[in-house]
Symmetry: D2
Subunit: 139 residues, 4 copies
Amino acid sequence: MNEVLTLQQLQTWLNDTPFHQFMGMEITDFDLEKKTVSLRLPFRPEFERMPGSGQLHGGIMSSLIDVAGDFALVSLLKIPIPTINFRVDYLKMGVNTDLIAIATVRRAGRSVGVADVDVYNSDKELLAIGRGCYSTRST
Amino acid sequence: MNEVLTLQQLQTWLNDTPFHQFMGMEITDFDLEKKTVSLRLPFRPEFERMPGSGQLHGGIMSSLIDVAGDFALVSLLKIPIPTINFRVDYLKMGVNTDLIAIATVRRAGRSVGVADVDVYNSDKELLAIGRGCYSTRST
Amino acid sequence: MNEVLTLQQLQTWLNDTPFHQFMGMEITDFDLEKKTVSLRLPFRPEFERMPGSGQLHGGIMSSLIDVAGDFALVSLLKIPIPTINFRVDYLKMGVNTDLIAIATVRRAGRSVGVADVDVYNSDKELLAIGRGCYSTRST
Amino acid sequence: MNEVLTLQQLQTWLNDTPFHQFMGMEITDFDLEKKTVSLRLPFRPEFERMPGSGQLHGGIMSSLIDVAGDFALVSLLKIPIPTINFRVDYLKMGVNTDLIAIATVRRAGRSVGVADVDVYNSDKELLAIGRGCYSTRST
């Protein structure tokens, strides 16, 4: 694909997946030189750990991490990229906040790619960090 | 808590969390001697990777793994157990299937617990494996 | 390779690597049906955390885990298998003991393999668990 | 401990451990504001994958990652810090080179700390990345 990648194109690819729409994930930015992609996930009461607590369940952050790392590689390689495995470390509780995930490609090899993802609350405090390994071999 | 733990009690604890209900997770079994807990997550079109494909998004499985490992420790310790970190490895695509997660406690220490989780489709084929580390210190 | 795999052949492959000899790793058993390989690493004072403590440094166990998972896949596929990534969880301190690692293949796919490794002391107490992801594509 | 931390003090703590000396690890730098510690591991033929290849075995890098992440937290907290778990991703083969590990603390909480470690060859090419979780509770 020789055409210039646009944010709209990435958003279209993201929205092609029902699960991304179910969660409400949005791509807000990307940078091919820095190899980063930013996603936003707006707060919803369905994401809470306890009703009315505003505390976000970890499963929200881990799903966001998986997808953000994936799209950092998708923005570079412009093919579907299955996840091989990933790890998430929870650092701080997210409370009553949208989530911002910034994913950075650490390696985009012929068969394997690796991306790091930092998840922030709306005050730019770090809540969770993830590292994913993805299959980059177009088949 | 000296009372005998019942499946109904575990289910009540699971359902206390809006995110678990949002996803549709159910506890189906537990065994205090084997230190296992089983969860089921029924298929929904919102979980798909591509519309109409029936292919389950990885984020579904990773959320299920996080919660299943957590409840394996909850069943033993009967306190809320925050996740410290976890890893998931995807082995096989899940297609048009409910998910069954079987979580086993590998260690329940004073400050840290570790649980392994195997995720199967309804044909008992292994789809994903997870390993979580949890904070077991009651505070 | 159509010939029957022998323990001696696996040991030869293991010993081809100077680092394995430097550490003193030995293959003691394998089972192609269970997809397991067992390694032993005899205690040495150079492996200690503190002089005279007998406490084994974690780096010893993580190296053993990486190699054991690798050889579980090597025994099945009979090709060199590079590690993509792995995780180790330390459960219990090893003290004045040889280490026994039992590695089990969880998946041996066309491009990616996954193996689990349990590390025991000589009293068969579980000290550490590892999970590795390996590149199985012969090139 | 109110005294100013010196590089010499960190090196002394590192050298207290026989395994670190066995491998030949050295602390070369630290920065309390950036929360980083740098380690160096000189090349040795015993670290090779195949004799005469110059290719470094992955177990060398994983051990270095575990220790580097640990000492990033030790430099901040000035107590012994046991590893809970860690993950390493191998990105590029190291050949005939010393290794440089730069560890950065991502979180230093009351009970858990997390550190990221990048491992470079002497040409400053990234070879491996690690992420460790450590027990920071002084007991």
